[in-house]
Amino acid sequence: MDFDQLSQGLFIALFLILGTAWVLLLIQALRKSEAAGIWASRILGLALVWNLGALAYRGYAAGHAPWANQYESATMVAFGVILLYFIFQRRHKVPALGIMVIPAAMLAIAAANLLPGEYKKMAPLMPALQNYWLKIHVSLMLLSYGSFATTFGLSLMYLIKDGAWTRRTTWIALPIAGAVAGMFFGYVHASAHSPLWLSFLDRLGLSAINGSNAKAYALLALAGTVLGAVTAALVSRLPGSLIGLMPDKDTLDELNYQSVSLGFPLLTLGVILGAFWGHLAWGRYWAWDPKETWAFISWLIFAFFLHMRIFAGWNGRRIAWIGLLGAGSIVFTYWGVNFLLTGLHAYAKSS
């Protein structure tokens, strides 16, 4: 087993640990089992330590801070999700929040492991990245991405509690998300000409070079839709079962605001320190590079969230929708920009 395989194995094990913790959180919520709750906390603690250990190993084996490509950054985001969830829960102890937030960490690790093989490999750093700013700017940005998973969870909880997010919404949202994810998966593998994609095309009798691969994308969209629908069938009743456990709407609204108060300063600091690095490396603070621009758009959305809540008296449902919009913007800033847009920050692959 080489360094890459061992590193990936550690993160797959992390996925399983998080999955176990999630199931225990479910048991705690649905069966009112205190023991399951205690074990869920312990296993999440283990996940945090495991994640840190896996990152440290990756850093040691790669010879640099372990967030230089998409795979590495996703594992750091998972760390951010768990760490910020812990920090938040230590203060607020919100029942059922983990059920909403922990899947974000699992999704980050799963998505990273579904990347083409060459995107997952450790690689040396290009000269521009050989700098202490990599450790500071990138880690802050990734932690801020992770922190907004809590905002996502709380916004969703508010909408569920409020009745704005119903079973029907789940049945619509998950298959659509599945279809988009299926096509995105295809696009990433097609861009990398991964063996998986080439053999998939081969089986369909399509060409990787000059053929129209609409059929392949349609099939992936269909598979994603089915997967989304199956997930919806499994979890669509869950929010209804959790409503009784959730704090009241006012508390959720306040907690939602608190979660943005945690992530927004991290995002601000990350963007500003990134501008300092840009000044040092490229001779300008800001170049409207797609990554910078989308980080700015996410920042605007959360600045809007804060202003409308603090000064314009907005709260409740509207604020929760803005929270979801902000979380969506963060996902695009993180994944969409790296694969769909080009620029100085397109770090999907190391080299």
């Binding site: 203060r91 607020h92 690689a123 040396p124 290009m126 000269p127 521009a128 050989q130 700098n131 700013w133 508390t251 306040e254 907690l255 605001y257 608190q258 108060s261 945690l262 927004f264 300063p265 601000t268 600091l269 500003i272 501008a275 300092f276 690095w277 000044h279 040092l280 490396a281 490229w282 001779g283 300008r284 603070y285 800001w286 409207w288 797609p290 621009t293 989308w294 700015f296 758009i297 605007l300 959305i301 600045a303 809007f304 202003h307 409308m308 603090i310 000064f311 314009a312 920009v337 847009l341 080009t342 080299s351």
Partner: protein
């Protein structure tokens, strides 16, 4: 009228619209490749007609378009107006209790209030309250109201100003951007190894210039006044590239380091020697030089192995670039006429240059006998078996190459640099004050009770973190009640 304009700019509705517009306009620029350099890409993707329309609308250069600047300007004005409208409210919160005509009227309506009675006299009770408030919060203010003494203490007042400090930081950043756009510049310079180049500079001139603006479908022109122009300025400072060094990670084409060893020359005299690397710029006067990229252009020489027609011997030559030379006494001559550091085959037999990095080097060689050209072909180092020689028995094998490197440096001048740095720090201070400091204030009214003792009213208020403040209020108010043996 002025008041109406001001009120229009101070609305949240306008902020909403401008934020959405800024977000959408910013996003548009990320989907359409930007700038003249990417014009071909846009044409290839969307067609010439679509490109022309996008170009006309400014979408191919979104972040420099007039409408993007306009939205940013309106956004700045909105931010300024909203700040000015809200400042007095915060200022009032700071107003000293002693200055108030009726201190009790300053106490806001909040959800945090506790009333109790105490056997202590108002004077004793006020002393005890003062001690407690000063211990839990900060310096205590004290004033006499109609109903009794009013004591007030607060903590983390900076947090009240957090949003305004953030706004001040944003204004400074916008100002820095303006200075850079108006008076700064960024130019690229290419310097070949062993040669010199002047550091490019620009200067801004103010005056009146008239530009002719053609009226469409007529031969008329309209005079368009201009008050500002940028002109290249003569630079006395040169950069001499002594050596350019690239190192690669073993077994890969990925550079681990590239570095320009340069000398700064003024009036023929070397004033400074330095190494330039990515992330390690060099400041020369008002200009900062950044290592941007590098490439290769031309050769010093190439070591080759040759076999000539009619001969079984293989011999080594060190061939100069673009210089015909004799191959021993064979009667043959050769010349390397071209060098492509990154070659590609556009179509069979046609080699084109696709980049300046040493990724797939190729040389074009010509062979002559008795002054007459007998053969020419491209030799691609990665594919030595593909030799397009039509002369039987003529073989060539490339050994080593000594290409001439050039460095690409960015020469930038940014007069807003310190303002940007200060603005960023101010903004961060504001964010810290807003999110990590929680303003809290306690008021305690101590009034005489009929039949002796005192009546106590404790009121608390906090900006943000109401949940955290609940605990604090409960703690402090119960301590006060305990201190006064309240009931």
């Amino acid at each position: 009228m002025t008041d109406r304009i001001f009120r229009f700019f101070a609305t949240f509705k306008l902020m909403f619209v401008l934020l959405v517009m800024t977000g959408i306009f910013s996003a548009v620029g990320t989907f359409i490749p930007q700038g003249e350099d990417n014009a071909e890409q846009v044409v290839a993707k969307y067609g010439q007609v679509a490109y022309d329309r996008l170009h006309m609308l400014g979408i191919t250069d979104t972040y420099h378009s007039w409408w993007f600047f306009l939205v940013l300007l309106l956004f700045t004005l909105n931010l300024a107006a909203c700040t000015l409208v809200r400042l007095p409210k915060v200022w009032r919160m700071h107003k000293s209790l002693e200055e108030a005509e009726e201190p009790e009227l300053h106490i806001p309506q909040t959800n945090f209030e506790l009333r109790f009675a105490s056997e202590l006299s108002p004077l004793e009770a006020a002393d005890a309250v003062r001690k407690r408030l000063e211990g839990s919060l900060a310096r205590c203010q004290d004033a006499q109201g109609k109903n009794g003494r009013v004591l007030a203490a607060e903590k983390h007042t900076l947090s009240l100003w957090g949003a305004y400090i953030v706004h001040a930081g944003l204004f400074m950043l916008i100002g820095a951007g303006f200075l850079r756009v108006m008076f700064g510049y960024s130019k690229y310079m290419y310097v070949l190894e062993g040669s010199k180049a002047f550091i490019p500079r620009e200067e801004v001139q103010f005056g009146l210039w008239i530009d002719p603006l053609p009226v469409p479908k007529t031969s008329w022109t309209l005079p368009l006044p201009r008050f500002y122009q940028r002109v290249p300025s003569h630079s006395m400072t040169e950069i001499l590239l002594d050596k350019f060094d690239v190192q690669y990670y073993p077994g890969t084409a990925m550079p681990s380091l590239f570095r320009s060893d340069v000398k700064i020359v003024e009036g023929g005299a070397v004033i400074k020697a330095a190494s330039l690397k990515v992330n390690e710029p060099l400041t020369v006067g008002a200009v900062t030089l950044y290592q941007s990229s590098y490439g290769y252009q031309g050769l010093n020489s190439a070591d080759l192995e040759l076999r000539l027609p009619g001969s079984k011997d293989v011999f080594q030559v060190t061939a100069p670039y673009r210089k015909r030379f004799k191959l021993l006494d064979s009667g043959w001559e050769m010349e390397i006429t071209d060098f492509y550091p990154e070659a590609d085959m556009a179509k069979p037999g046609e080699i084109v240059q696709t980049g300046a990095q040493l990724n797939n080097p190729a040389i074009r060689v010509k062979f002559f006998k008795k002054g007459v050209q007998k053969a020419w072909f491209w030799y691609v180092y990665a594919y030595p078996s593909i030799q397009m020689s039509k002369v039987p028995g003529l073989e060539i094998k490339g050994k080593t190459l000594d290409p001439v490197a050039f460095t690409v440096l960015q020469a930038a001048h940014d007069p807003g640099e310190w303002l940007a740095l200060s603005g960023a720090l101010v903004l961060l201070l504001g964010v810290f004050a807003s999110f990590y400091l929680f303003y809290r204030k306690f008021w305690v009214v101590v009034s005489p009770r009929e039949g002796g003792g005192s009546l106590i009213r404790v009121v608390g208020n906090s900006k943000r973190n109401k949940m955290g403040f609940r605990k604090m209020f409960e703690g402090v108010s119960s301590q006060i009640k305990g201190d006064l043996h309240g009931f």
